[in-house]
């Protein structure tokens, strides 16, 4: 499967069509200009209408972070997912230490080692207090290429609140602003999370990450979108194994791909390129 401009274009257009059919009706997504216009319109959306997730990072370790991103996305309610997808899974990545924040803010998910945390999807205005406290996550260096490594996605426990009630998921019928939600106390029942439906045994896929022309901060953005959307599309589930491969660019990599993270080529604004890709299920090794 070669990642031609036509294929990349089709994937990018399909993403817009599935998230925002209204944009697909109005704009000609068959052209690069149409794609860019759709993204520009999404980017220019009034803050009041945007649904956003804040992702707080104290220390970025790629493989742990992939597992935690999956766990966060897999625990979201369908209502949250739908709202967030309309905003193209918009996420703001902030540098911060969750240890210093969990008593003051409600998080949807906090990693076991407290190195990263995510808020539930919410209106932009609601996120203002936390955004004012922190800074954008800065990782200008290139993501280091590492040998391939296979990691296993975690089981999602039926209940959130593993940290003694300092964070909880929202009930399915309710999408409350983060700071207005009461902090769950010790002993209060946490929200019952619907684990992703698993109709087949765990699978293995390859996750390709490009390292050329991107920084750590860029890679965080690309991977976050790819992984979250793969969860929502039912491509990833608990127990699945991902073999993470770093390549300068997604050139000559064997596919086929079930999911691609596509953006404008930093070398040529008239071309698209893939920054990350998730292959179809592989045979078990």
């Amino acid at each position: 499967m070669r990642l031609t401009q036509e294929l990349l274009h089709r994937h990018a257009a399909e993403r817009i069509r599935s998230f925002r059919p209204d944009l697909a009706e109005r704009l000609d997504l068959s052209t690069t200009a149409g794609l860019l216009a759709a993204h520009a319109e999404v980017g220019a959306a009034a803050e009041e209408t945007e649904t956003v997730v804040l992702s707080v990072i104290r220390r970025f370790d790629l493989h742990s972070w992939i597992r935690d991103t999956y766990a966060f996305a897999a625990g979201l309610t369908p209502v949250c997912v739908a709202e967030w997808r309309r905003s193209f899974t918009r996420t703001i990545f902030l540098a911060g230490n969750p240890e210093n924040l969990t008593h003051r803010f409600t998080f949807e998910y906090v990693s076991d080692d407290r190195s990263s945390a995510w808020t539930a999807p919410a209106g932009m205005r609601v996120t203002t207090p936390l955004r004012r406290l922190l800074k954008l996550f800065a990782g200008p260096q290139r993501l280091s290429a590492r040998p391939p490594l296979t990691l296993e996605l975690p089981e999602i426990t039926g209940r959130r609140g593993r940290l003694g009630g300092r964070w909880r998921a929202r009930p399915a019928h309710e999408v409350q602003p983060a700071h207005e939600a009461r902090l769950a106390h010790e002993g209060q029942p946490a929200h019952e999370v619907q684990p992703p439906r698993r109709v087949a045994p765990p699978t293995r896929r390859e996750l390709y990450i490009a390292t050329a022309g991107t920084s750590v901060a860029d890679s965080v953005v690309h991977l976050h979108h790819l992984l979250a959307e793969a969860v929502f599309d039912g491509l990833l589930g608990p127990g699945d194994r991902l073999t993470v491969r770093h390549v300068p660019r997604l050139v000559g990599v064997p596919g086929p791909f079930d999911a691609l993270r596509i953006g404008v080529d930093e070398c040529d604004p008239n071309r698209l390129r893939a920054y990350a890709g998730l292959t179809k299920e592989m045979d078990h090794d």
Binding site: A95, N97, H103, R104, L133, K135, A138, P140, Q141
Partner: protein
């Protein structure tokens, strides 16, 4: 001789840590106010406690305002003889430096930072400024905390970052090329960058290098600063409190000149730099009156806020008032005689009233109390001799 402590009780140990003035320009009225405030606090509190006055220029030479200025000078001015320059001339060069859009590669600062760290090197321009300031300090009776001495901070940058991390107040993103932040978010204070992505430490980082190892040796630490730095000093107080050190903040308002509170980077010292004020006043008043009048004006009249603009006429009025105050309460020819006579009950008892709920003495309360003239004569004379002249 300071009053003895009550029997059985150790005198408290207090650290005064005022913000330093970058040695690149003349001392302005705002600077003088801070210096007098600190000096009166130091000398008054020393009557009651063991006080250390820590003000090290060495610690802050590596900041962009200073090392960057040195690099700019060498690159644009070449080898000139700063030993004959006035503060105003060096200050004009500093204004030019701050006005230029710097696009200096980080490598350019490396040799300067190395020289500062490795052997306490000081650029001749700043050495000249510090030499001139030393002379002003002597004329004004200001305690010299070692302006020209090599006083390196007690920890390296790495040691400081590691210590801050153990306090849970450091966010270090250097692994991926990012900056280092001082993290006060637990107290609801936004992240504050202290080391840039280019590796350069700012003045907050320098202050932490100095204070983290030093502060725990004291019972009380007093941070003095101009109110424009309120946010940073609130954070520094949080860090020291987290270390278990009782820490107080004393923010002092700047002095508007010609209707504006301007940063020294824009110049504006006109005829009210320390040198100019001494030149204008020096010949008309003897030294004790000069020192007393300056302190009363900058502390009692200007007060802790920033509303009172600088006025030459009012300063001279207070210098004349100081003449009269001293004429009415002549200092003993041998001040030690007064001290011996009043030991234990005089000035120490008087200053103790102006401590509030902390060990350090409040200079504003002390100065205004002196002017109210409610104190016994002997104690007042001792106070004038020990603290205000």
């Amino acid at each position: 001789m300071p009053a003895p402590a009550p029997s059985g009780a150790r005198r408290p140990r207090i650290l005064l840590a005022p913000v330093t003035v970058t040695p690149t320009k003349p001392l302005t009225p705002s600077h003088l106010k801070g210096l007098f405030w600190t000096d009166v606090m130091f000398r008054a509190t020393a009557l009651l406690a063991d006080v250390s006055y820590r003000c090290s220029h060495t610690t802050y030479h590596g900041c962009e305002q200073t090392a960057g200025f040195w690099e700019y000078l060498d690159r644009t001015q070449g080898d000139i003889d700063y030993s004959t320059y006035t503060e105003e001339q060096i200050g004009e060069l500093y204004v030019r430096y701050r006005a230029v859009d710097q696009d200096v590669p980080v490598d350019a600062y490396g040799p300067y930072l190395d020289a500062i760290e490795q052997h306490g090197w000081v650029h001749p321009a700043s050495a000249r400024v510090l030499e001139l300031w030393s002379a002003h300090y002597a004329r004004l009776g200001l305690h010299d905390p070692g302006l020209c001495e090599h006083q390196p901070p007690g920890s390296t940058l790495e040691e400081m970052i590691e210590r801050l991390g153990r306090l849970g107040m450091c966010l270090d993103l250097r692994e991926h090329g990012g900056p280092v932040f001082l993290d006060g978010t637990r107290a609801g204070i936004p992240l504050r960058q202290i080391v840039g992505a280019d590796g350069r430490a700012n003045y907050v980082a320098c202050a932490l290098r100095e204070l983290l190892p030093l502060a725990p040796e004291y019972d009380e630490v007093v941070l003095l600063y101009d109110r424009g730095l309120e946010g940073d000093y609130l954070l520094l107080q949080r860090v020291l409190t987290r270390l278990g050190v009782q820490t107080h903040r004393v923010g002092i308002g700047r002095v508007p000149v010609n209707g504006r509170i301007a940063s020294a980077r824009h110049g504006g010292w006109h005829d009210c730099s320390a040198g100019a004020l001494l030149a204008a006043a020096g010949g008309q008043h003897d030294e004790p009156a000069l020192r007393l009048g300056m302190r009363l004006y900058f502390i009692a009249l200007l007060g802790p806020g920033d509303h009172q603009p600088f006025r030459h006429d009012l300063l001279h009025k207070w210098l004349r008032r100081a003449d009269r105050l001293l004429a009415d309460r002549p200092l003993a020819e041998h001040p030690q005689a007064d001290r011996a006579a009043a030991c234990g009950t005089g000035a120490p008892g008087l200053v103790a009233r102006h401590r509030g709920d902390h060990c350090y003495v409040d200079p504003y309360r002390l100065a205004t109390g002196l002017l109210a003239g409610r104190h016994p004569g002997g104690a007042e004379r001792e106070l004038l001799a020990e603290v205000f002249t």
